[in-house]
Symmetry: C2
């Protein structure tokens, strides 16, 4: 049975809060004018947001003859989001406010192959330390967001046969962390969260973008109509296993041949350079050789850029993004990689699809995944379904 | 200046209507229980929907002891949507109710290359006849939706350098039709609307699908997270100009070589068959040869399916749809085309992306684009932004 509740509580408070999220202070009269709602409705909804601490008084506005009108503003510090971007050998963690701006961040080294229990224990300890250092131990949490370096079924938070994560297959990350903190836990793969991080913090007005991560492997994250496109089972963006036009018979770890990852990833380039007698065991070795002026490394990176660009050209035809962001450790090769990417995309794509296309290096850099994980938490916590039901609960 | 309006009018009536769109009758008490809204709020919002004719009385429900409770139901006939799917040589038109179900449909032959004025005149006359025949001349219109066989900038409704549509470049279809009917006009390319039509009428629970049209040319429409993905300038789904792995040096009308359309479209197959001495000038000639048991045609169609499948495999890796729908005139080749498509997709895609993937022939068939155009109108007319502002207007 549902009891009758006041309309002002059941009504979408999230809509009023959405206005405030631009950070601008407003009076009650301004809110009434901006929303077209009745004064009484604005008053009761504003009271609910004030009670929840999500909006607070910003002092008085200009007097309009009578007593000065009170002004109200979004209180981004009302809740704390905890987020982590977990890689194979290290993680970056943060506690942010409700705009996704970090109160504090921290990095740690880990070994993902040790399995979920020790790794998640490290994360929990680091988050607790971040909260303590920032004097936020008693602050209410909005939720926890985690990016992991494997295929994640976003709806359950479980990993699906992750190739580099022994012991994690089917493990319930969500349940483990929720048990510690008692708040919603959201899990996604780190490339999706890099795309979300670039979108929310650096390109908020770009509703259609592709983030390509070029590191040991190659993957992509897609923002479609302003939202992450995860696909049917969370496998979207698996760009590394698309057939590269120049892929030939190159064997790939997936069991197929000619995959983009088999010819253009950091691992593939390093292997090719070793065959030519160079010391290269990782993306960063490749970048070092390039920066040291090695011509063979430069040629290899440029060709990898072309290979990536040829596959991306197909994605451009299909998705018509206005922005491609290239990130990951090999992106530190900078313009040499981007030049190859651009060359191939402009050669292969139709004019209509490239007329408004920018191809840039990552702006959020190594923080992209961590910031995306925080943005995922904030989006969830302030979404109509979550916020309206939270605030409709009897106090 | 905004005047104060009653909260019940400015509040999202669209949300209450959304419940009703399942077609189930409800009493006021059931609505109160279902929404958690106050009785008074339900009463005033329901009155607004009744006044607008969007909901009407469905008689009385079971008595609960006192007087019988009135039941209310969505009135799908409250507005009429006009829609057309316009091809190069013919169009299908319809007038539908607010579930997108046709009151009446009609086909006509036309010549798109005559330019917009004569073609649109034909559409207008046909819609007026459909309305008259169905006795709907005085029915309020929800809007008009038009699918066109060229690249459309959806936000403005203007065509962008359409290759087969002389005289249409930059022409304002929206303005022309709005002048005749005085209602919102929405324009999109026909492949997007085929995807929307299949999604809304045949696969409403499938939030991530790709519709591939294989006819004279090849194009795709993408449903991402339940919505059409149009991309930055409406150029998404341009699958025909992705490099086909077996494309080689085949010249394409776009100026590039090796495009999928240059080797696997109806036009390309017909040209290849002519070189082998067969009479084939269109997709339907190819289908006729195939149905007549011609082995050369069968081999050509099967190989076209493989070529399409190899490009689709990349799209599957990138987008992780749960459904691929193959439509267009060459899809009438049936299993011969689909077999090639499936073969290539399963060979090239990772298991995770194909574990829940279905690959089927079009279910809505030749009506897909027309039904998608109607669905576009209904989605727009009943969207929160349009509906709530319409009903908030003083009567």
């Amino acid at each position: 049975m549902h009891a009758d509740v006041p309309a002002s509580n059941a009504a979408p408070l999230s809509e009023l809060l959405r206005l405030f999220r631009d950070g601008r202070p407003r009076t009650r009269a301004e809110l009434t004018a901006e929303t077209g709602l009745a004064r009484s409705t604005v008053r009761s909804r504003l009271d609910a947001l004030l009670d929840a601490g999500l909006v607070h008084s910003a002092g008085s506005g200009a007097s309009t003859g009578g007593r000065p009108a009170g002004r109200f503003v979004f209180n981004a510090r009302a809740r704390v989001a905890l987020a982590a971007d977990v890689g194979a050998t290290h993680a970056t963690l943060t506690a942010t406010d409700l705009t996704g701006s970090p109160f504090a961040t921290s990095s740690l080294t880990l070994d993902i192959s040790e399995g979920p229990e020790p790794v998640l224990k490290q994360l929990v300890a680091t988050w607790r330390r971040l909260l303590a250092d920032a004097d936020l131990e008693s602050a209410p949490l909005a939720g926890i967001g985690v990016g992991l370096p494997g295929p994640v079924e976003h709806s359950t938070g479980k990993l699906q046969n992750p190739p580099i994560m022994p012991g994690w297959d089917g493990y319930d990350v969500t349940e483990r962390l929720a048990a510690d903190f008692g708040v919603p836990v959201l899990v996604d793969n780190e490339v999706n969260l890099m795309a979300l991080g670039e979108h929310t913090t650096r390109f908020p007005d770009t509703d259609n973008l592709i983030l390509v991560k070029v590191a040991t492997g190659i993957g992509a994250g897609i923002i479609s109509n302003g939202s992450l496109h995860r696909g049917a089972v969370g496998a979207a963006g698996d760009m590394g296993h698309i057939l590269a036009p120049q892929g030939g018979e190159a064997p790939c770890r997936c069991g197929n041949t000619g995959c983009l990852e088999a010819v253009a990833s950091g691992a593939a380039i390093a292997a090719a350079l070793r065959k030519q007698g160079l010391e290269a065991h990782s993306s960063s070795d490749v970048v070092s050789l390039l920066r040291g002026g090695n011509v063979i490394a430069a040629q290899a990176v440029r060709q990898a850029g072309r290979d990536i660009g040829e596959v991306l050209a197909g994605c451009v035809s299909m998705l018509n993004p206005s922005l491609i962001v290239v990130g990951g450790s090999l992106a530190q090769a900078g313009e040499m990689l981007l030049a190859g990417v651009r060359e191939a995309i402009y050669r292969r794509s139709l004019p209509m699809a490239t007329q408004q296309l920018d191809i840039v290096a990552s702006r959020a850099g190594a923080a992209a995944g961590m910031l995306g994980a925080a943005a995922m938490v904030v989006q969830h916590a302030l979404s109509p379904s979550v916020l309206d039901s939270e605030l409709a609960r009897p106090a």
